[in-house]
């Protein structure tokens, strides 16, 4: 086989796929994402033809010429596709990027004209695809040599490595002699392990060890990583003799090859005593429910019952009261890099673990505690992390790897399969939320009441905090004097839930904002006006029932500006007067038209993922306009262009989020003058596509009066700084960034002093470094308190085909108060990515569990991630706000864009159809079913809320003549 021009005679194994073969040769640019041919991260060229190397038999490539991303660049530099992705910054975590570039490099002109179709085999979980479309359009989004780094559209420092396949993710390192671990997982939702016979497994050639519950420390911990250990119940063991969900660890086998480790797992003889199980949170709350943890008195992990003001009186004084129950689905983070870690003992006899984690320092602390090691005998490193979204604020592999490394004194690796991500990692918490709200006829809220049941799965990791957080900012954003909350976080025998972008807020805000929308319609008030009359104002206290940390204030306020922008929905000038607008100017449009031609030419009707941008939709009136109403993706319709007869509606929602978690979030940073006059900045926090690294270099460059290319950033290694709580809770800029600012400012002050009044140029810096006794270095620290709040609003216009349930997004607008926007290009990318991920949860994604508690959606063919064709263009507008707490005025903008999306979409759907949908996701079959049920009821009453209609529509309906009667009763939202 020839790879990138060089010959390799290593024979492939019989059942080996080409991806593994190439990675074993050291071509780490070829990524393992799904392992099933769906995500495209492993794309390579075989004799010039692009293929998914994970489903390509390696033996077949023996006499062929392979090109990987490492071989794409020519002697003159980057391949045009690589340069285009770099110029457009068409990536965030970058794990999918090599595959996208290899695919792009192979596209024909015809395929380039139809990107939604051509990219259906490439998944990106981070970007929302706009920046990828820009790369294909040749848009240059980055600036070079700005006068000031902060506020400029600078590219990510790792960009050149990402586009050449040389960025090093967790497993992109050669660890000589590494052993492979595989985990046997529970076939029952709840069982006691009575015996595990390991003899046969140990006799498999190559097997080095088997670990069972007899081999682990007798200690309980939580997989959740928080600064305050007590935030999560200690209810988990490394390996337990009771398994509480289908897919839980039973035993681990370590061997010289994956083949042997897998065979060892199959050779384990385990006997189980099945125990009664409970799969639904409402069932688990019953007094006679089976206990998920037998040592606890109930399945309730945490509860909250509190009220403020006079809630009953508030409802009495209301002119309109509305109450409804809403449900959200289990959603998987689906970061393209799965969980995994590799560990070894270093020359100083320290345990070293290289992990795909958002929290290296907290993992170190937990490993030291579990295995009774001093902290200085444990080192945890994260390479570049291939996506996180909260999923890697969790210790899911490191404890097992550490156990094996410590026992065997040999390097050991454990890499989750994609199926294990679904069955044995964590999910977003599924919530059931009953929300009741009352308002006077002028729209002023008189009372708000929440009842929340959150399913935390078999373990309580993040369970209490997610429930508390979900119930806080969702209500506190309204100044209503009477509020009551009843909340429960509940164990069930299902895959554990964990931290996920928004941390409970998205689920509760779906309910709150849906109910306020319904109230507005019933009162005949514009939903934007209703929000305006009730939102909390600058200077006011943030109030929600329950005990809440007192360090959270509205240190800066931009919600009014966000609402103004949302109001100017059909103003396509880019929101002038409302501060900085992003995404208005640079979009290239002309070529896009080509993708739409097929609508007229028959065949499968087209539709183009990118038509929904503002400018394009400008021609749309409120009424469905056939040719222009195409949203994303293809219709099931052929040759007929017109969504004539489609229903059109608009909806909006607002959200607020704390800029950082309560209870302390600490970051240390240091800045050091290097001998060559450059600066090294060390931070603890990890980079997983969030872009905090870019912002850290920008902050440091300005503080040190230099340019970003003279900043060398080192990160996510417990050897670098004293402590860092981690990259979670929207803290990459506001906490770690603040520590960097302090370190860099302190170093500048030290240098100014050492310079003694002379001009500080490069030569002076070199001399100062040379003259100093030791390193010229300064430290910075930030403790994450006090905290400010950030705001987001979203508004959609949608069209719905009443005959099929198909929904298209005609326009999508997001306004955000991020304080000072440190890097508009990146911040816009965070918002677009958050919106896209939220659209996945709103329109498509659900992890399903069958009657035995087994996860049935175990790959990307069953679990639909948003593709290029699914995601419309979202216009992003920023408020002009300067926050007094955040570094240089910045606030968080990473989790929060997710939060208003689902209710804005559901409200638009309600406006279009007259039906209130209450259960996510809103797939076509559910929308169709809801419209049928809504139509059946519309003759008799106001529109009913539709969750799951009790029965299917009658089979005898004549479908050819079936547009249901979906007149829109009730007041129209203003347009």
């Amino acid at each position: 086989m020839r790879v990138n021009g060089a010959a390799f005679d290593e024979p492939p194994r019989a059942g080996q796929c080409l991806r593994t073969y190439l990675r074993e040769l050291g071509f780490f640019g070829v990524k393992k994402g799904c392992d099933t041919g769906d995500c495209g991260a492993c794309t390579v060229h075989v004799d010039g033809v692009p293929v998914h190397s994970c489903v390509y038999p390696a033996f077949r490539a023996r006499d062929r010429e392979i090109t990987t991303v490492e071989g794409l660049a020519g002697p003159d530099g980057l391949h045009p596709a690589q340069q285009a992705f770099l110029d457009a910054q068409g990536f965030q975590c970058g794990f999918c990027t090599a595959g996208l570039i290899m695919t792009t490099a192979a596209l024909t002109k015809e395929q380039r004209a139809d990107l939604p179709r051509s990219f259906k085999g490439n998944l990106c979980r981070c970007t929302g695809y706009r920046s990828i479309a820009d790369a294909l359009d040749g848009v240059v989004n980055t600036v070079t040599e700005p006068s000031r780094a902060v506020g400029a559209d600078l590219g990510a420092p790792a960009g050149p490595q990402v586009v050449t396949g040389t960025a090093r993710y967790t497993f992109d390192v050669d660890v000589p002699g590494v052993l492979h671990m595989k985990v046997l997982r529970s076939p029952f939702a709840h069982a006691r392990i009575t015996t595990i016979r390991t003899e046969a497994a140990l006799s498999v050639p190559g097997v080095a060890a088997v670990f069972t519950h007899a081999d682990v420390p007798d200690k309980l911990f939580s997989t959740a990583m928080h600064e305050l250990v007590d935030e999560d119940p200690a209810d988990t063991k490394v390996l337990d003799d009771v398994v509480r969900y289908h897919g839980q660890r039973v035993a681990a086998v370590v061997a010289t090859s994956e083949t042997a480790a897998e065979e060892g797992c199959r050779a384990l003889a385990v006997e189980y005593e099945e125990l009664p199980a409970v799969f639904d949170a409402a069932d688990a709350l019953r007094v006679d429910a089976p206990l998920v943890h037998a040592d606890k008195s109930s399945n309730v992990v945490a509860s909250l019952k509190a009220s403020i003001g006079d809630v009953a009186g508030g409802f009495d004084s209301a002119d309109e009261v509305y109450e409804e129950t809403f449900r959200t689905a289990r959603v998987q983070h689906a970061s393209l890099e799965t969980h995994g870690a590799v560990g070894w003992i270093d020359e100083d006899e320290r345990l070293v673990v290289r992990s795909s984690t958002q929290t290296p320092f907290l993992v170190r602390r937990e490993l030291a505690d579990l295995y009774d090691l001093p902290m200085d005998k444990v080192r945890v490193i994260a390479g570049r992390v291939g996506g996180g979204f909260g999923g890697k604020q969790e210790m899911l592999v490191e404890d097992l790897v550490a156990l094996a490394v410590l026992r065997l004194r040999r390097p050991v690796r454990l890499e989750y399969t994609r199926a294990e991500q679904f069955t044995s990692a964590t999910t977003r918490h599924p919530f059931t939320v009953t929300m009741k709200a009352g308002a006077r006829s002028d729209g002023v809220l008189t009372a708000m009441q929440l009842r929340v049941v959150s399913d935390t799965g078999a373990y309580g990791n993040h369970g209490p905090s997610v429930m508390y957080h979900g119930c806080h900012e969702s209500l506190a954003v309204y100044r209503c004097p009477n509020k009551r909350t009843e909340g429960y976080s509940v164990y069930t025998n299902t895959v554990p839930a964990g931290a996920f972008r928004g941390y409970g807020l998205g689920q509760v805000i779906f309910a709150v904002e849906s109910v306020l929308d319904e109230l507005a319609r019933r009162l005949g008030i514009d939903p934007v006006d209703l929000r305006e009359r009730n939102i909390v104002r600058a200077g006011e206290e943030l109030v929600a029932p329950g005990d809440h940390a007192t360090d959270l204030t509205i240190a800066s306020y931009g919600l009014d500006q966000c609402l103004d922008q949302i109001r100017k929905f059909d103003d396509f000038s880019g929101g002038e007067g409302g501060g900085l607008a992003a995404g208005g100017g640079r979009e290239v449009k002309g070529e896009r038209e080509a993708g739409n031609g097929r609508e007229a030419e028959g065949g499968r009707a087209a539709g183009n993922g990118r038509e929904a941008d503002g400018e394009r939709a400008a021609g749309n009136g409120r009424e469905a306009d056939g040719e222009r109403a195409a949203g994303n993706g293809p219709a099931d319709e052929m040759g007929v262009a017109a969504p004539e007869g489609w229903l059109v509606g608009e909806g909006m929602a607002v959200s607020m989020i704390a800029a950082g978690p309560p209870g302390g979030h600490f970051a240390d940073a240091s800045a050091t003058l290097l001998a060559d006059g450059r600066f090294e900045v060390a931070v603890g926090t990890a980079e997983f596509g969030n872009g905090s690294t870019t912002v850290h270099t920008q902050i440091a460059a300005d503080a040190l009066h230099t340019t970003v290319d003279r900043i060398v950033l080192r990160q996510s290694d417990t050897d670098l700084v004293r402590h860092d709580t981690g990259a979670f809770g929207s803290t990459g800029v506001v906490v770690a960034g603040k520590a960097v600012l302090h370190a860099a400012t302190n170093l500048r002050a030290a240098i100014v002093e050492l310079a003694g009044g002379r001009v500080i140029d490069e030569q002076a810096l070199k001399e100062i470094a040379a003259r100093a006794d030791g390193p010229v270095r300064a430290d910075g620290h930030w403790g994450g308190s006090p905290r400010s709040v950030a705001f987001n609003c979203h508004r959609f216009r949608v069209a719905v085909d009443p005959q099929t349930g198909e929904l298209r997004i005609l326009r999508s607008l997001h306004s955000a108060d991020a304080g000072t926007v440190m890097n508009p290009l990146q911040c816009r990318g965070q918002i677009e990515g958050g919106v896209a991920q939220a659209l996945g949860a709103t329109l498509a994604e659900h992890v399903d569990i069958d009657a035995e508690g087994r996860v049935t959606t175990t790959g990307f063919r069953q679990y639909h991630l948003p593709t290029f064709a699914d995601v419309p263009r979202t216009e992003v507008r920023f408020a002009a706000v300067d926050d007094p707490i955040g570094p240089l005025g910045a606030k968080s903008m990473s989790e929060s864009p997710f939060n208003p999306v689902a209710p804005a979409l559901a409200n638009a759907l309600r406006d279009a159809t007259g039906v209130r949908f209450t259960e996510l996701p809103l797939t076509r079959d559910r929308i169709w079913k809801g419209l049928r049920a809504g139509a059946a009821q519309s003759a008799t009453a106001a529109p009913a809320a539709i969750a799951q209609p009790a029965s299917d529509p009658p089979a005898t309906d004549p479908p050819a003549t079936d547009p249901p009667a979906t007149d829109r009763p009730g007041p129209e939202a203003s347009s």
Partner: protein
Amino acid sequence: MDLNTVAEVISPAEVGQWRPGDAWLGGGTFLFGEPRPHLTRLLDLTAAGWPALTVRDDGLEIAATCTIAELAGSGYEIARQCCDAFLASFKVWNVATVGGNLCAALPAGPMIALGAALGGTCLLIGPDGERRVPVAEFVTGDGTTVLGEGELLRSVHLPAGALRARTALRQSSLHPYGRSAALVIGRLDDDGFTLTVTASTRTPYVLRFSVLPSSEMVQVALAERIPDEAYVDDVHGSPAWRRHMTRLSAERIRRELSA
């Protein structure tokens, strides 16, 4: 993914070599896409050198090893439309085979739809000789076929008349370019009107009418011939919606072909 239990590849492989633990290997995109711990040997057919597409007077012979990309480029519009109905990307088309899609026997397999809609025939070769089976009867359930032990799919024949017929296709999915929840094809030729329902049902349903029927007749036939329990219930669409989309598609196809 790596099939770690596979210890040997026979390439090219022939009928008669099959033994328990073996799998016939086409492009590999299906076999390598899921764990197959029961497999110990792969019998590679792609090295046999079968010509991908052979045009004869009586129709088109498609080798089982013909790739989706080769079929998509064959010039037959209905074949191209069925290729477009794949969830898989064009990169998978470069490797995946027509035979592989048929043998995977998934409800959404568009090569099954193509063969069934055009009245195609499968040529099977086994240790006991050859036999021919209509494509519409090749798939017996979700993931199961008529293939016996050691038997392989050699080719699919599409008759010339059907290839010349007017056809219309409708694909329904929960997502743009997503997996088929209903894939319905109509064919109008000298034999009359043939309506083929796939993807929404576990196995293909072929409904024949001597002339282009009325809307009502199509709906009655669909209701009579396809029992409610035949509709697939999985994550790609609810059975009621699939049934509805099947019926809606049938009517739209009927209207298109009557124009």
